[in-house]
Point group: C2
Chain length 327, copies 2
Amino acid sequence: MNLRDIGEGALIRKIRERFALRPLPPPDRSVPEARRVKAGEVHAGIGDDAAVFDLPPGYSAVFCSDLLAENTHFLRNLHPPDSVGYKSIAANVSDVAAMGGIPMHFLISLAAPGDLDFSWIEGFLDGVERACRDFEISLLGGDSSSAGSIFVDVSMIGRVRSSQAIRRSGAKSGDAVYVTGRLGSSALGLRLLKTGTLDDPAVRRHLYPEPRHRIGPAVADQAHAMIDISDGLSTDLAHIVAESKVCARIYKDRLPAAPGVQEHDVLHGGEEYELIIIANDLPAMIEGIPITCVGEIIDSDLDNQVFLIDGTQESVLLPSGWQHFSG
Amino acid sequence: MNLRDIGEGALIRKIRERFALRPLPPPDRSVPEARRVKAGEVHAGIGDDAAVFDLPPGYSAVFCSDLLAENTHFLRNLHPPDSVGYKSIAANVSDVAAMGGIPMHFLISLAAPGDLDFSWIEGFLDGVERACRDFEISLLGGDSSSAGSIFVDVSMIGRVRSSQAIRRSGAKSGDAVYVTGRLGSSALGLRLLKTGTLDDPAVRRHLYPEPRHRIGPAVADQAHAMIDISDGLSTDLAHIVAESKVCARIYKDRLPAAPGVQEHDVLHGGEEYELIIIANDLPAMIEGIPITCVGEIIDSDLDNQVFLIDGTQESVLLPSGWQHFSG
């Protein structure tokens, strides 16, 4: 059974049944008020021209999109379809968290060949459903189309307390540079996956990333600047120094490496979905995840650069992560 | 000069310069309060992890996405790139209007081959810029990627007065069925374009659609149900009767046909971006566009169907517009 046999109307009906907005459970008092979904928040979901929902008073909307193209971001014979579904959502959750926001709702635009077996779509939706549970978010609609290859674009809305959004541009000389978790496992996981390894923590991390959706809003009061590591530490920290018009100095021996990774994975590996947080003083652990101070922000005389300190050696760390259109 | 030569970073810088949020002009008193963009509404735009903006008090958010895939929705050697840019935005503006909403902000996710000439991107952005002016909306960000062919997905946020969103499900027996404008020109325009004709109103309408972004919010008080004609009158009216659990009767001799079109174009032509409005009593003209009563909503005993009346003949009008994955 392929997509052409199923047809667009039946595909949308299947998705609508599976992702119907159900009556919400009574509020879990252990969840902070700001994170509880309010009943009546969504007025229209899947199956209308557009979704309609409310933002609670005192919040601004956070709005982002992230696309996955077959053969660029994933390979159909290497990446399980539920990983493609999960990653497409997780990447957006990570972007919302990097603004200090809480993810809420998303749309999926999916283009795929008419001869794609429907089991791929079922697997993809399994990953989407798991992401909905893990991140407490809801699918509200989207679009579908036939195309020569698979293309997934997810757009997401989150909320952030008014005037608490954390930009890339707020880093100041004297601030510390923190990273969440451990770095390098997504790049290692991709290499292992290509050799046929499936049962490995790095492979699982590559296939089902763990964006820091609780840490982002938890540090929104204290962070001066923040970004998620989607293209690699070197590339994403370069965005912070460029937007903030500062320099940064990071220490190689402080970088928290995941087990078994190479130095290149730590410095340049993409799809980490850890956060770089620029702040004055953060605790060593937030929401159960280690927070490591890896360096500091310094004034910039000329260019906005990142310096890497290795013992008594200092070098310029050039952004060497993933660049589209360059391959 | 192609995309690979330009690189992702430079592409984003170019877009950011071109679509920078400029200081807003003083409010034009002829524009209703609800449509004036408030200064300070956008806190973060292109060049951060996500955009951040406020909704005015008393409004719900309207959220939709619409994707265009090369060789499915457009042909690179037939459709000018500025038409692809313009249509990708206009389709979303139409969806927001069909909920009774006012479009505000959008994101673009663009995947394209690295060897695509940069002039295609420049043309595409010309169309996006023109759409920003025509619909008084702003580009706040998005994503870009390399891919084997061109994919464009636009996601849009609009606003609608709380509890005034117009669903597909509110049609009631006795309501009248209205359509805006004249039908069939997009399908005719595509046929003419394929023969090499460029200078024709139907071709212009196919390439640069005119979504009814002023009519949707203007009838939000009176409409019981509404949808835009993106897949054809027969298919989109079928969505209304299915969601509202009613039937509809429309009269062939009342259907407002655009000049030169065939009957099939009027009944089934897609990408019209006119509105089907279900209401009790609408004026013959709204915002300078003719509004035509083409039939009525009737009770449904069994299936939810659309009946076409042609003189003394009555037949079931089957949805015969565009269906993805079926070709």
